[in-house]
């Protein structure tokens, strides 16, 4: 990010010099800084509303409800994790919380799941298939309510801020399917080294 950001800024100054747009550049620096703060403050209301609701949902046991529904499917995906092992429970909660858009709640569950999976790891320090799959699933971001995006759209004055909910669900489902397939296929292409190897 450091390299990317610095290059972006430096390239802009160079391009402005070439295009003779230094005055516009200077004006843009000040107005963008201002705009960034206005944006963030515009987010306060909707973000507070959604995270408030999310906390209520968590207390209402919604996460546990979804978790129960997902358990059979996840058991099939994470073969090799014993049925009664706490890792599976944590995985179920992690995926459920992600599904409900509770990003902040999902992370502790995911971290716990990774630690528990490491207990089952015959080669500590080298990711198991299950650990890689869990990470991939978390990078795919399947969620029923993309709260932050809705908040941003509302702050920007969208006519219907939530009109992207359906498309987001569809696109992130494609991402998740890809994550599962890629993790399963790549597991064979990148086999774990034999146990005990350095």
């Amino acid at each position: 990010m450091s390299v990317l950001w610095t290059l972006l800024v430096a390239a802009s100054v160079a391009a402005a010099a070439v295009n003779g747009r230094m005055a516009e550049l200077t004006a843009a620096i000040a107005t963008s800084a201002q705009a960034a703060v206005t944006l963030a403050l515009g987010l306060v209301g909707v973000l507070a509303l959604w995270l408030g609701l999310m906390r209520v949902a968590e207390r209402a046991g919604l996460v546990a409800l979804v978790a129960r529904a997902l358990r059979p499917a996840l058991r099939r995906l994470f073969r090799g994790v014993p049925d009664d092992h706490p890792a599976l429970g944590a995985i179920v909660l992690n995926v459920s919380a992600n599904l409900l858009g509770l990003g902040n709640a999902a992370t502790p569950f995911g971290v716990e799941a990774m630690r528990r999976l490491e207990e089952l790891n015959p080669r500590p320090g080298t990711a198991t298939d299950a650990q890689a799959l869990l990470c991939a699933l978390n990078t795919a971001s399947v969620q029923l309510v993309p709260a932050t995006v809705i908040a941003l759209r509302a702050a920007a004055g969208a006519r219907d801020p939530a009109d992207v909910v359906g498309p987001v669900l569809l696109a992130s489902a494609c991402g998740a399917a890809t994550a599962v397939v890629a993790a399963k296929l790549l597991a064979r292409a990148f086999p774990a080294p034999p146990a005990g190897a350095p």
């Binding site: 402005a16 507070a48 209520v56 207390r59 759209r153 969208a158 890809t178 890629a182 990148f190």
Partner: protein
């Protein structure tokens, strides 16, 4: 048919959640109001916490545009991006999304501000951000927590998921909102 179903889902999801969640919580004898305030405070803090990365990204992007550099890059990549159905303003999002969540949010906010939230670019940026994750951050946190140092195929799978998310977002947004 698919479009109608998606539209129904989109228009009902939010009101149902806003009314349904507190009702469910009340039925289960939970302290709805204190729980709401607790989460809302977290939302407030999140909004404040993203100000620094937002300033960094929005300023850099503002400079990149005002200098005419974005126009140049967009012209150079035009054959590729038009084939993929990517409007130029969305381009930086593809680059930044796997690296930094705050920065990606900044790009989305910038697209929404300059192109409008109901434009094709605005909707595409929203869907792309909603359907992908900050892959490098997720891996660092999760693998780090388990003290795993050799990721094997996890990064490749995560980046493939991001790519699939971007492609699917472009397809879905064009099919759903396209002219």
């Amino acid at each position: 048919m698919g479009r109608a179903a998606l539209q129904l889902l989109s228009s009902w999801a939010i009101p149902l959640a806003v009314a349904g969640v507190p009702l469910l919580a009340l039925a289960r004898k939970q302290q709805v109001y204190p729980a709401f305030l607790e989460g809302a405070r977290e939302g407030f803090e999140t909004a404040v916490r993203i100000i620094p990365p937002l300033v960094a990204v929005v300023v850099a992007l503002g400079m990149f545009k005002a200098s005419g550099a974005l126009d140049g890059v967009a012209r150079a990549l035009a054959p590729l991006t038009s084939a993929l159905g990517l409007p130029a303003p969305v381009l930086p999002l593809v680059l930044v999304r796997p690296l930094s969540g705050g920065a990606a949010l900044g790009v989305v906010a910038d697209v929404l501000r300059t192109e409008g939230p109901d434009s094709l670019a605005g909707r595409l940026a929203s869907v792309m951000a909603g359907s992908t994750e900050t892959t490098f951050y997720v891996l660092a946190v999760y693998m780090g927590a388990a003290r795993v140092t050799r990721y094997r195929h996890a990064l490749a799978a995560g980046l493939l998921a991001d790519a699939a998310g971007f492609a699917a977002a472009a397809l879905v947004v064009h099919a759903y909102f396209g002219r």
